[in-house]
């Protein structure tokens, strides 16, 4: 009998902070292996809400959907250290990413800045999977320059009237609610005068149009607001304070933008591709060099993860982690195309090796240097805020 098997399976909603890190990891690993839907392992593309729902519900029933929320709000209340373990184990097993905007963004936002009524109404619906959220940040003319947004919200009586357009709304087609950054004071300086609103997607005047990405997947959407009227209490926090709230929304989640997971998956893909082509030996030196770079990136990641574990706040230097992750991921994806030959031209999987889809891996690696702040913007941030090279 192994040490792992001797642990009792974790009970739903139990306080797992009481376990040691080692026991916690073993418990999590065992539970995932038992409960994760096998047909969802390492999906080639991001799952839509309907596809991911079985896993969403399983986590919900176990009380594991919101590992970072306090227990009083229905979360697991995990310490940062245990939260990282949970995420590592999920990544290791190939668990699909959920439509997680409600859990990672809306929940923490309402817990920190919402009213009691907002919390009472929204949090349970997120936890149950009844409501899927999406985000309304970017706009067509406010890409990297987020604060240049133009969507407006005007107070009329006891309502706010929203007009404008959002873009790059991840899984926007799947969501029932959206949170929206809108300009409430057009006279104020760029980052002032922005407020934060919660909007049901079925409000009259809201239109969604899906965007097909370069890998031909409808991962994103555009959302149009045409005289959309919402009640006065649909605002989160104070009027004109939305930018501050939005900026702080991503706390230690910024760590995950630099996670080695994507590079690891791509390198694994490259290795299997070399095996498939019978060329593992020919590419030994290439694979070894990339493996070392990946391991080095993991060491780099650990530096920042350790900060989170200690409960420290991540500084602007975490941007370096994302720059390096994007560069490495894309470098590996580029090498996949070099090695693949004609196999890299296929839109779908390789017929006689369906776990290989080199062209798709290559295309999926493209946006990583854009989303969450492009590598150029990240370098600007590091140059100014870490190195003090600002104008």
């Amino acid at each position: 009998m192994t040490a792992t098997a001797s642990l009792t399976a974790p009970q739903p909603h139990a306080d797992l902070n009481l376990l040691s890190d080692t026991d916690f990891r073993a418990a999590v690993r065992g539970w995932i292996a038992t409960n994760y839907p096998q047909d969802l392992r390492s999906p080639p593309k991001r799952l839509h809400a309907a596809e991911a729902m079985p896993w969403y519900k399983i986590l919900s029933q176990q009380g594991w959907l919101a590992p970072g929320w306090p227990r009083e709000y229905g979360g697991m209340g995990l310490t940062p250290s245990k939260l990282l373990i949970l995420i590592e184990e999920m990544e290791r097993y190939g668990c699909a990413r959920l439509p997680d905007t409600g859990v990672t963004m809306v929940g923490p936002l309402l817990i920190a800045h919402g009213t009691d009524a907002q919390r009472a109404y929204h949090l349970p619906k997120i936890l149950s999977g009844e409501v899927i959220w999406c985000q309304g940040y970017s706009e067509p003319n406010a890409g990297s320059d987020l604060a240049a947004l133009r969507t407006s919200a005007v107070r009329e009586g006891d309502q706010w009237v929203i007009n404008g357009q959002k873009v790059w709304t991840t899984l926007g087609m799947d969501a029932q609610w959206i949170f929206v950054l809108a300009r409430t004071n057009p006279q104020a300086a760029k980052q002032k005068g922005i407020s934060f609103f919660l909007v049901p997607m079925d409000t009259p005047g809201v239109t969604v149009r899906s965007i097909i990405n370069i890998d031909l997947h409808d991962e994103f959407a555009e959302v149009f607001f045409d005289d959309v009227r919402i009640p006065a209490d649909a605002i989160v926090g104070a009027v004109n304070e939305g930018w501050t709230i939005a900026k702080n929304l991503l706390g230690f989640e910024r760590l995950f933008l630099g996670s080695p997971k994507q590079s690891e998956g791509a390198l694994d893909h490259l290795e299997r591709l070399c095996d498939h082509l019978g060329k593992r030996g020919d590419y030994a030196s290439l694979l070894n060099g990339l493996r070392m770079e990946l391991e080095d990136h993991k060491s780099f990641y650990t530096t920042f993860a350790d900060k989170v574990r200690r409960g420290d706040t991540l500084g602007p230097d975490v941007s370096m982690l994302k720059i390096n992750q994007s560069a490495l991921y894309q470098k590996i994806a580029d090498r996949i195309m070099d090695v693949a030959g004609e196999l890299g031209t296929l839109a779908g999987q390789v017929p006689d090796a369906p776990t290989l889809y080199p062209g798709s891996v290559f295309l999926q690696a493209r946006p990583t240097s854009i989303y969450g702040g492009s590598s150029e913007i990240q370098r600007n941030i590091v140059a100014r805020q870490v190195l003090g090279l600002g104008r």
Partner: protein
């Protein structure tokens, strides 16, 4: 007139006229709606345009006048594939040309006229410029396999190639089956399974035809990157962020310069390779250099072009992604950069 040996100025003038005439079919600034409409369909090309192409005499371009061709050289051929590349035409111009080159004087008139599209099937590995073997022939029927035949669903016939012979087979012949896969650019590629297919045996292939196809593909890749870069430059000049056109940011300026250098290098190498080809030299080394550089440069330039477009570049509705995806398909065709580097090395060993 012997065009290949014409004096520089005469030939340049001819080239300019040829490229000018191409604009009617393959415009460098044409809109890409028609290209989009054909994507992921079958047969995936426009037979009307194919007729136009043949009517302009492009198909017999390199065949001697005696064989019904125009007797033009690699320079003219590459100039046209550059335009076809830039226009992202899905029609398999280089493949049809390769089939004609391989058949030479045996090329049927309906192929030259565009009425019969014959595509070559010569490869049985995911990479390389080496004609596959393993075709067995018995009583006028052939068996075997050929992979990665582009746009095969559109073919009226196939030219099956092995190192010893070519065979012409009808696309509807009994014993022939196709396994078709979509390619990322919206075209397709097929595996041909031949099981006792009735075939006309033709003479052995001239390997230089494949060198021509590789150079023509390098030129198509150059056309792709030139246009993708032009579109990107335009975007850099017009897209405003942080209160100014993003082309004012030095980091983006420098990346644009590095793209232009890659394009310039490709153009220069290709120029030298074409000259060597037309001079009748053994041009395998320089062909490898041209194809390797073009493949790598096209991937870099189109990748960067997408990146410089920011988030919009990652949507299917942005045209810029079409160039990346076509580059992905043409980069490995007739030998990837890696294959050609290796070939260059093995052809170089022992040379001074």
């Amino acid at each position: 007139m012997d065009v290949v040996n014409a004096t520089g100025e005469d030939r340049l003038e001819g080239l300019r006229m040829l490229v000018g005439s191409a604009a009617g079919v393959a415009a460098r600034d044409g809109d890409l709606k028609a290209v989009r409409q054909l994507r992921f369909g079958r047969p995936g090309l426009d037979r009307g345009r194919w007729s136009e192409i043949s009517a302009m005499g492009w198909l017999g371009l390199r065949l001697p006048e005696a064989a019904g061709g125009a007797g033009l050289g690699m320079a003219e051929y590459a100039a046209l594939t550059g335009e076809v590349g830039a226009a992202l035409l899905p029609e398999p111009f280089i493949e049809a040309q390769l089939a004609l080159d391989l058949m030479g004087k045996d090329a049927p008139a309906e192929a030259l006229s565009g009425d019969r599209l014959i595509l070559p099937a010569w490869l049985d590995a995911p990479d390389g410029l080496t004609i596959a073997g393993d075709i067995t022939e018995a009583e006028g029927r052939i068996s075997g396999r050929r992979r990665f035949v582009p746009m095969a669903a559109a073919a009226d016939a196939f030219l099956v190639v092995s190192s010893e012979a070519c065979w012409l087979i009808d696309a509807k012949a009994a014993g022939l089956s196709l396994e078709i896969e979509d390619t990322v650019d919206g075209g397709h590629t097929a595996t041909l399974i031949l099981d006792g297919v009735e075939a006309d045996r033709l003479s052995a292939p001239d390997a230089k035809a494949l060198e021509a196809a590789a150079l023509a593909t390098a030129s198509a890749l150059l056309g792709i990157m030139e246009r993708a870069f032009a579109i990107t430059l335009d975007y850099l000049k017009t897209r405003v962020q942080f209160g100014q056109p993003i082309g004012h940011f030095q980091a983006l300026q420098h990346r644009a310069v590095d793209m232009e250098i890659e394009i310039g290098l490709t153009r220069a190498v290709l120029h030298d390779a074409i000259e060597a080809f037309d001079a009748g030299d053994d041009c395998r080394r320089i062909t490898s250099r041209a194809k390797a550089r073009a493949a790598d440069a096209a991937m870099l330039v189109t990748r960067e072009a997408v990146q410089l477009h920011g988030a919009i570049g990652y949507t299917d509705e942005a045209d810029i992604g079409l160039f990346l995806r076509r580059a992905m398909v043409l980069a490995p065709r007739y030998g990837s950069a890696g294959f050609h580097r290796q070939r260059y090395g093995s052809l170089t060993e022992g040379r001074p």
